[in-house]
């Protein structure tokens, strides 16, 4: 099984099948994926993400959803006509 974060210890920790604070873990996971977690939060989450199966699955889901949004949704570019219109309207201001 693929671990989401690099393992710091050589020994494989026992995997937890149940997580009793999923909601809090989920919030932490989102902070991490958004790049908003503190060093402390990162350290706390890292241990968890090596040993808690539900948390690993949540991490993978959140990561997947974020990637769907960043990579699959088409980015609309501004039509050139609009760029031209804005530039000419600006010039007529002075």
């Amino acid at each position: 099984m693929q671990t989401p974060l690099p393992s710091s210890s050589g020994t494989k920790p026992e995997m937890k099948e149940h997580c009793s604070h999923r909601a809090d873990c989920l919030k932490l996971i989102q902070l991490i994926l958004d790049g908003e977690a503190t060093e402390q939060q990162l350290a706390r989450a890292k241990a968890n993400l090596e040993s808690c199966k539900p948390c690993i699955q949540m991490y993978q889901l959140e990561k997947e959803v974020k990637e769907l949004l960043t990579k699959r949704i088409e980015k609309r570019c501004c039509p050139e006509q609009l760029v031209a219109t804005i530039k000419s309207r600006i010039l007529s201001f002075s």
């Binding site: 989102q30 949540m58 889901l61 609309r76 570019c77 039509p79 219109t85 002075s94």
Partner: protein, 235 residues
Amino acid sequence: MATIPEVMSDTPTSDRNRIGGPTGPDQFLPDSDSAEQPLANAPSRGYSEEQKYQIFNKEFMPHIDSMYNFAFRLTMDEDDANDLVQDTYLKAFRFISSFEQGTNAKAWLFRILKNSFINDYRKKSKEPAKVDYQDVETTYNSEDAESEHTVDLRAESVSDLIGDEVATALNSLPVDFRTVIILCDIEGFTYEEMAKILDIPIGTVRSRLHRARNLLKEKLRDYASSMGYKEENDE
């Protein structure tokens, strides 16, 4: 050569009105009469005509694709997105003296666009009833939603969804939730930048984003199951 504005470091938390000028956030609230002059009371920086065009071209125009994409994701309509982007850029030029050169132009522009959207477009949009922030917060702000709610869904179930399906799910969210997801996941703003663009505290950004994602996952789950992707994916 102009220096590239730093995106993150130029916006101290204590100075939360920096992006929109020092006149306070309420000037941007929906239905405010001052909406037409969003930055009127900001200190004038006395740029020369030449400097104005230079700032406009070098600091504002590079963001036009992101602005258009944001406008399109908000309005879900090409014509409306056109109008919204044009209005925003004209407004930005008119009030350019309240923009401090070298600060976060993208966040400044996004803030104007989002406020124009609320003030001018949401009123006449085809979206059913205007979704009030407060209603939305209340609806999803129950203790249950806050503390217990996790959506039962596996990454594998959604990994085959295509862009249009994800966009449809995103578009089905109330606009305030859609907005935070667009700003964070599609445009990559930090929480602090989002707080300034939206005029809300960082804690509210965090919790609104959290709820928005739960809603989105519910939509994705419905989508995935209606498309026949299997939920139980026992390895």
